[in-house]
Symmetry: C2
């Protein structure tokens, strides 16, 4: 287990002064990277095999949104791995030691040239069986219909060092479509995301949202489904 220490910076908060879900997810993914780096299987290590990590599924549950200037820590550990996926947990604590969020991320490795999955048989990664206490990332299905649809062309600021749309950008696109009045009071209790296909610079994507008072379903679609997400949030 590795514990990473962070602080909520002005750029991490929204107009309510609370840390955005996107910023929280960025720190969660950063903690995964720091742990993998420290254990010899980070992105740079995989680059020597012409391979890279990709996020397949994510679940985040929030107890309390962090506020600007708060210090917090993320403890992260790999609970299990099989031939294709590693399952990693993340426990977010405030400076009083109270858990403010819990997350599970599931990762696989792709070949950077062929973009296809690589077996993890070679991965020397000790696991810790401790559970995080939230349900695993759910396998999401597209909604029967969506109430809102927008078109988005993938831009320079959407793509990351892998050359594909960064996972947290999809989550940002979803939040940009949510009802802003609800976001004032909403606490996102749980977010699930499934990253199904890559999308690349210049691609035009359909962003579809179905939002109710308590839940929202989101889909990113090109000729096939790129990404699905769901949030639940009692008001």
């Amino acid at each position: 287990m590795l514990t990473c220490n962070y602080k909520v910076h002005p750029k991490d908060v929204d107009f309510t002064g609370r840390m955005t879900t996107v910023a929280l997810c960025d720190y969660i993914l950063q903690s995964a990277g720091e742990d993998a780096d420290s254990r010899g299987f980070g992105v740079r290590d995989l680059g020597k095999r012409d391979a890279t990590w990709v996020l397949s599924r994510l679940a985040v549950e929030t107890e309390r949104p962090l506020a600007e200037h708060e210090s917090f820590s993320i403890a992260t550990w790999v609970e299990s791995l099989d031939r294709i996926f590693t399952t990693r947990h993340h426990e977010v604590r405030d400076s009083d030691g109270n858990v403010t969020a819990r997350a599970t991320t599931q990762w696989s490795v792709i070949n950077r040239t062929t973009r296809s999955l690589v077996s993890l048989d070679w991965l020397d990664c000790a696991t810790e069986p401790r559970q995080i206490g939230i349900e695993r990332p759910r396998k999401l299905r597209p909604a029967a219909s969506y109430s809102t649809e927008e078109s988005h062309r993938v831009r320079y600021s959407d793509i990351d060092f892998n050359g594909h749309t960064n996972t947290t950008r999809y989550i940002a696109w979803m939040f940009d479509m949510l009802d802003i009045d609800k976001l004032k009071s909403r606490i996102i209790r749980r977010l699930d995301a499934n990253f199904i296909r890559e999308s690349r610079y210049g691609q035009t994507l359909a962003l579809r949202l179905d939002e109710s008072d308590e839940d929202a379903l989101f889909a990113v679609v090109s000729d096939t489904t790129v990404m699905l997400a769901g949030i639940s949030s009692p008001f």
Copy 2:
């Protein structure tokens, strides 16, 4: 002078593996906030007067773009202040102590309710006359014509704790309009930005760009000019 230590994280780099200008600007602004906080005139201190800092002008000159995983520092100091503006410098150094970028930011204070400028007579801020060695942020003028125009509606992820579009979002919009092939090899030698008016959630803005091989001019316009920027970049 305060020196802040940072690291280039995966989310700070673009598809070339180099730190984006937007991420660099985010850290530059963060260093200003940290210095102001440590000296008793940060955003939280100003909040007690129902006031807040706003960035008026920015100039950044880059010697070398930082790469992913590099550690770097930003030293920042206030060079001067008058009744309306403070001028602050930022010196970015890599872990070998070499200067990789220099920046100057000019700030004013507005009342959070009336959104109008507040005199800085009350500000107890010792200044350090040391120059940074780059030309002051230029006062930009709109181009005679622009070759590209897009429309952008201000979204949730664009606005910050002040409730207005975050200054670095404007810079992100400009980079999203630049020729991606040039961005592969381009080093942004100098960026100037003038933040003239606020823009707010839901506003529809015209984004206008005029790009040549070496330079680009960018304007954000509502019924009046919101923001202007210019970059120069030998290839």
